[in-house]
């Protein structure tokens, strides 16, 4: 269970062990309000042990992307209408529901934001973890229980043998999220998707959970897709970042490069609009000036403007931006963006 060196993960090459490849994923919703292209042509790949963050605001399609990978998009109204999802050599979109069930929770697993609603309140923690192990790994009840307790220990739950016998409501929020993580990684999945895993938690508990996730990735070599709106979590956890806006990928780069020299005005806006603690600023001094703001609001997906979706909020938008959607291309080595007028000479560090 060797972890892949972070440097190698930043730029996937065909030779590295690629575990997931998403190509041109399109997930649409057919609603009374019209056609909603929640995910529109998203592609990315993931190598073993890598952490990829997908960032964006509500409605940008990051959660629908995650649900699409699990094939858990509610139908109706949603449907994956195009693209391919390859997990190893398996094309997930060609599998029937029964075959997909064998994959879910086994080769690809998910951690949700709210651990209370994702755990079954009338089953003990051990039972819930064992169930997945017995189903996917054909373990006996006893062996599954032993492994469940090992998993609880691995995610840092004190007195795991004791806690295993408890019900979700007997655990605190942080412990429940740990149990949820133990359940997700029990079958040693190739890909772990964490959808806002710490948004419902207090900041000190969030730090604990992020530490657990980092440790698991090191020890198990699981590839992680981290979906979040918190740039702090991205900066501290991810190796590579995808920025989504209105259902599309607008920028992708290694985390250091993205934060230092963002290309897309939206990425740049996001990075500069958040207040930073004094401890986190490179230059000292009080911060009480105005924050940089991105004007306007996220457009409704059923009624996107022609051309670039961000153009109405963008300071650099030109006639071209309002007319044509920009191509997604490699603007600098290892840094892709969809923008006609990428930001140049951003204050780099």
């Amino acid at each position: 269970m060797a972890a892949v060196a972070p440097g190698a993960a930043a730029q996937p090459s065909p030779s590295s062990t690629q575990v997931l490849e998403v190509a041109n994923l399109q997930t649409y919703f057919y609603t009374r309000g019209g056609l909603v292209k929640a995910v529109d042509g998203v592609s990315f790949s993931l190598v073993r042990g890598e952490t990829l963050a997908i960032v964006g605001e509500s409605g940008c399609g990051k959660s629908v992307t995650a649900l699409s990978l699990m094939r858990l998009v509610a139908d109706p109204p949603g449907r994956i209408v195009g693209g391919s999802l390859r997990l190893g050599s398996t094309d997930l979109l060609r599998l029937d529901e029964a075959a997909m069930r064998d994959i879910r929770g086994n080769r690809i697993a998910m951690i949700f934001q709210e651990p209370m609603t994702s755990l079954n309140p009338v089953m003990t923690i051990a039972r819930q973890i064992s169930e997945a192990l017995m189903l996917h790994q054909n373990l006996s009840r006893g062996a599954a229980l032993v492994r469940s307790i090992e998993m609880l220990h691995l995610v840092g739950i004190p007195e795991p043998a004791q806690r295993a016998k408890e019900y979700p409501h007997q655990l605190s929020g942080g412990m429940r999220q740990r149990a949820m993580i133990a359940m997700a990684v029990a079958c040693n999945p190739e890909v772990l998707i964490a959808d806002e895993p710490t948004s419902a938690l207090d900041v000190t508990i969030q730090a604990q959970i992020l530490e657990v996730i980092a440790k698991l990735r090191r020890e198990l070599g699981t590839a992680l897709i981290l979906i979040t709106h918190d740039l702090g979590i991205v900066a501290e956890t991810a190796e590579r970042v995808i920025v989504m806006y209105a259902g599309r990928k607008v920028e992708e780069a290694a985390v250091g490069r993205l934060f230092a020299r963002p290309l897309h005005p939206y990425t740049s806006g996001l990075i500069h609009s958040i207040p930073r603690l004094a401890l986190m600023r490179r230059e000292s001094g009080p911060a009480d000036g105005r924050l940089l703001e991105i004007p306007g609001m996220v457009p409704a997906l059923s009624n996107l403007p022609p051309g670039c979706s961000f153009a109405p909020r963008c300071a650099h938008a030109s006639e071209l931006c309002r007319r044509e959607y920009p191509p997604y291309e490699e603007k600098r080595p290892g840094q892709w963006a969809a923008c006609w007028h990428p930001v140049v000479g951003d204050s780099g560090g």
């Binding site: 900041v203 969030q206 730090a207 900066a235 990075i271 609009s273 930073r276 609001m297």
Partner: protein, 326 residues
Amino acid sequence: MVEPVAPLLQVEGLTKHFPVKRGVLRRTIGQVRAVDGVSFTIGAGETLGLVGESGCGKTTVGRSLLRLIEPTSGSIRIDGRDITRLSRAELRPFRRQMQIIFQDPFSSLNPRMRAGDIVGEPLKVHGVESKRERRSRVAQLFDRVGLRAAQMDAFPHQFSGGQRQRIGVARALALNPRLIVGDEPVSALDVSIQAQVINLLMDLQRELGLSYLFISHNLAVVEHISHRVAVMYLGRIVEHTDKVTLFTRPLHPYTEALLYAVPVPDPAIKRDKRVVQGDVPSPLNPPPGCHFHPRCPYAEARCKLEAPALREIEPAHFAACHLLNQ
């Protein structure tokens, strides 16, 4: 920070205990000490940030100031006048002075009322009878918070989250209050919208001389908007000082733990991680002595027995910790 001569708001020993009731006869079986002897002042034009994790009592403090929750004991003074024991009728004139902005821009607006009526309602309650007069005042307020007057007749669901929060701000401004309690006013908003609302609140403060009690769990936002900051843990203030000192030289181990738990949105800055272990204890059954001692890396024997008082460790820098020397 310059301490104002006569503080607009003065809170002393504010305490709120919620009884825990069980059974058919609803007998009281215990008390949740949600707020346990909290004192602070807010001057005119000043922002006090109140930070802490869930269950620390910061929301109860905000609600108690407006008497939306009746405090168990302690006093709340506005311009020196104690409003803690005033009757509803006596309280009404003071309602004009203090208003509140809520966290959730969806549940804070009545879905069956038009935006203009929501903002105009405080005016109606406080005797602005003429509909024309109300509408023109509401139109001004809409303009002030960055909404178009033409949107007055729309219903809340027709607005985005950020716009709805602006409606909430306009409603709070309607009576020309001097103090606004912001209960996590930007926490439910998207990152790009948060900055808009923070800027709006700061602009309003500059122009109208407003005071804020800004309640939040987001330390970076609190640092940005506040002049002074108080940190709460399980019903008590554990540290209280001006923001520059608090965020650069925190004294209390809990403040330090909080600051180091916030992820840094800059991969170029590498900090040594100091993750504090353990869970936030339940306010129903807080640990004895210093509430933080089970999680505190520096805890000593007396921390388990004796609750530390909030002391002035350095000039105008208060902290409640046995290990700090004056």
